[in-house]
Amino acid sequence: MSILMRYFINLVALVTYRLSQLAVLGTLAVVMGEVISRYVFNSPTQTSLEITEYLIVTMGFLPMAFIHQKGGHVSVELILEVMPEFARNLCNIASTVIVVIFSFVVCVFGADITLHAYESGIASSSLMAFPMWIAYLPIPLGFFALGMQGLVILFPSLPDGKTN
């Protein structure tokens, strides 16, 4: 895998992670804004609930690649720890292959519902009439970034030792 490609994939992971950080802060701001609006000014907003729902989806899917890069996803390591090194490496490769395949499967089907929402002009049924393709987008984007990140991890694991 070329250095440029690797740089691009890591950049995608970082950008999606930064976006999810913004989503965390955005959620705090929106919910706090709603609290002030409702309890201080006695004037609840119509949109905060819907916005936070989009933000929570963003927080769930966009940081997946970055967390995977940092080894932050939870896994059961008990059996791996007692395996001989060769078997452990084999399991690591198999695990990453599974991550990549799963990511691209969800990415493809996620992209499908996103494209369908875009082409059909589907919007939320609320006053916001928010374009649903934007709401769905974190799913294919997050899984795409995760799949690509899996490839970055996978390539140095191959026996030919091409680690760049």
Binding site: T27, Y54, M59, S75, F109
Partner: protein, 433 residues
């Protein structure tokens, strides 16, 4: 292929993938994908992102990142140390005062932070070196903190209870309120055990010379804890009195924690960035498991696994207490190998229909499940609190030392589960009384 074979295959794939170290959220997702393909074909896979989106886009879930953020801010604010010091000074005449103070501090910290690791790490950082310096046995010093830190899983605002509420379709507010009395009772049971141990085996917990620990600190230790206590009342009070939803109270708690940290001059730009980064990572990790668990739950429902399981249990004519014991044992075993979030998200859709079938209250089950997951974090081989305490303990501390110290508290939690099973009103009185 019939649904039973597909169910077995999906569960076998799930276990096999987890065994080779596949991240749990991917293992759940892949076994769901395989199950859906076998049940309905490739075309049905569009249900995967569909279910993920529909079930994730929920205002209830907003409380998760906000309570995690609040916990991270409190973690860096130094409030944990203030609370521990105040309680320790107040209780210094009691035998085992440092250990008792640790339990109280962990319980109060748990009322501000929904993650058990943060409580154990924060209080343990101050309390373990002090206990060891005072001559406490290492097993006692480490075991107390590892176990009391797990109270955060039960005492609201617990992230585990939010996730249970979401999967079980129960009110998170009721779950939070229901967790208060069991949290207090278990804390009292832990303290009673420490006092009895101190009385029976004083050599394990020598008396503490408070002047040695408090040199040059003449101020009233409780004054600095007032903001922390106000924060607890603001968060839990607003939920209990129905003033705010858990998500709104989480936002209030975050802003309160930010103000306290800023006032205590613990909030540099660098710290703030670190806090947001840590909260995003923890949230992302939890939500990824949740997303896949929701799809797995969808598959189980399509396969009618929970319903078939209930029918089978009824057909066998098992006694309801026998079923309950089997469920608790299953949860404990799951907790020995999986993290708390995974246990709650995988077990709830499977076990809740059985619980409902035997007329147990789902709110009660949520609380009991939280107590069982408390056992999970102090049980080897995957007891996360054990690892954290081993990591922060000074000198060479083996995992087995911490585990041995935690074992009596494990038995206390077992006792608590029995108590709340015999007297479910101890759990249900506050929310429904």
């Amino acid at each position: 292929m019939d649904t039973i074979t597909i169910s077995i295959l999906a569960i076998v794939f799930l276990l096999a993938m987890m065994a080779i170290g596949v991240p749990i959220f991917v293992a759940l997702g892949v076994s769901s994908v395989i199950g859906i393909i076998l049940l309905q074909g490739f075309e049905a896979l569009s249900a995967v992102p569909g279910v993920m989106y529909d079930r994730m886009a929920s205002f209830t879930l907003v409380a998760v990142p906000l309570f995690i953020l609040m916990g991270e801010i409190i973690f860096v604010s130094g409030l944990g140390g203030d609370i521990y010091r105040a309680i320790r000074i107040s209780l210094h005449k009691v035998r085992g005062s440092l250990a008792v103070a640790s339990v109280v501090a962990c319980a109060v910290f748990g009322a501000m932070c929904g993650v058990s690791l943060a409580g154990a790490a924060t209080i343990g950082k101050f309390a373990i070196p002090e206990m060891l310096k005072a001559g406490y046995a290492k097993t006692v010093a480490t075991g107390v903190i590892a176990s009391a830190g797990s109270l955060a899983l039960l005492i609201p605002p617990s992230v585990g209870l939010i996730l249970y509420g979401l999967v079980a379709g129960e009110s998170v507010g009721y779950l939070f309120i229901a967790g208060v009395i069991p949290g207090i009772i278990i804390s009292l049971m832990m303290m009673s055990y420490i006092l009895i141990l101190g009385w029976l085996k004083p050599e394990l917990m020598p008396a503490v010379d408070i002047t040695e620990l408090e040199q040059g600190k003449g101020d009233n230790p409780w004054i600095v804890t007032i903001p922390a206590l106000l924060l607890v009342f603001a968060v839990l009070g607003s939920i209990y009195f129905g003033i705010a939803t858990p998500s709104e109270s989480a936002a209030i708690g975050c802003v309160g924690a930010l103000l306290i940290a800023a006032y205590k001059r613990k909030l540099s730009w660098q710290t703030l960035k670190q806090v947001i980064s840590d909260a995003t990572r923890t949230t992302g990790m939890i939500l990824a498991i949740l997303a896949s668990a929701l799809v797995f739950g969808y598959l189980l429902t399509r396969l009618r696994v929970p319903q078939d399981l209930v029918a089978w249990i009824v057909e066998q004519g098992f006694d309801k207490y026998m079923v309950l014991v089997a469920i608790f044992l299953l949860l404990i075993v799951m907790g020995m190998f999986m993290d708390v979030v995974s246990v709650i998200l995988i077990a709830t859709p499977l076990l809740l229909p059985i619980i409902k079938n035997f007329n147990y209250d789902p709110i009660w089950f949520g609380i009991v499940m939280a107590i069982v997951t408390e056992m999970a974090v102090i049980t080897p081989p995957v007891g996360l609190n054990l690892f954290v305490i081993q990591g922060i303990s000074p000198g060479q501390t083996s995992l087995m030392t911490v585990a041995r110290g935690s074992f009596p508290f494990f038995l206390i939690l077992v006792l608590a589960v029995i108590l709340f099973t015999i007297f479910p009103n101890l759990v249900l009185w506050l929310p429904f009384g």
